[in-house]
């Protein structure tokens, strides 16, 4: 089973890469773009059969390694 996770910078945490992307998009005439936040996307292949159990494991992985909860939020899709 594949579990997908998105990790993004927390609201209020400076995201210099997102800011640079936003400015570049604006300079390319995508003038509607007010903000970009850049994050990470993980696909985790697990051999756990039960989806709830698998997601519980992935949640533990997020807390212990995949995200730094001081600056990042995670979302299991």
């Amino acid at each position: 089973m594949k579990i997908k996770v998105i990790v993004t910078p927390k609201k209020g945490v400076l995201d210099p890469q997102g800011k640079a992307i936003q400015q570049t998009l604006n300079s390319m005439n995508f003038i509607d773009v007010d903000e970009v936040r850049q994050g990470k996307y993980f696909e985790i292949e697990t051999n756990v059969k039960d989806e709830n159990d698998a997601k519980k494991n992935v949640e533990d992985m997020c807390k212990k390694l995949l995200a730094n909860l001081v600056i990042e939020d995670y979302k299991i899709l």
């Binding site: 945490v13 400076l14 995201d15 210099p16 640079a20 390694l65 730094n68 001081v70």
Partner: protein, 227 residues
Amino acid sequence: MKSSVIIFPGSNCDRDMDVALNKFGFKNKMVWHNDNTIPKSDLVVLPGGFSYGDYLRCGSIAAKSNIINSVIEFANKGGLVIGICNGFQILIETGLVTGALLRNKYLKFICKNIFVKANKSHNKYFNKIKKDILELHIAHNDGNYFCSEDDLKTMEDNDQIAVRYCDINGEISVNSNPNGSIQNIAGVFNKKKNILGMMPHPERVIDNCLSSNDGSFFFENLLSNMK
């Protein structure tokens, strides 16, 4: 005094640190990250570099390596632990010091000498250094120190801000902040002040032929407090 420098795959300041520690009188041992225990030490150093290629987040993989549990145990017993640059990032990822290190504000890798003001009160790292402003070296991509307002207040109340970026005259301002760190923070202590994490490299400036000699004061002071 005995010291240990931990080598991770991708560490590249480990030998500089070894040279510096030996120069100032430490008996230093190099310790491989895959070992389970650190040799008997009075000081443990996590050196600079790019452990595990900075994969995932700088320091995050090294913070889960075999040796780390014994470093944490050593630190929790009050042992002196220094993390420089990538070593600071590893300390952050282990949770031994508070905060996070984000990408530099202007997205540039910064490699240059900078000036810092160190906190000299009640710590073994800077307490008797005579100079008020130290010229040290930084070389990093992710040194933009961040923590929550609550954490910042707690650290300020506990006097845990170890080093701040300043200009040559000691003024701490936006203009003397190379990477966007909140409050110009270049390094922090844990609550007990036995652990120091900082981005600047004292081991790179230990001789007048190396553009600055101010790192020498750091090592001399530390050693004098350990004898």
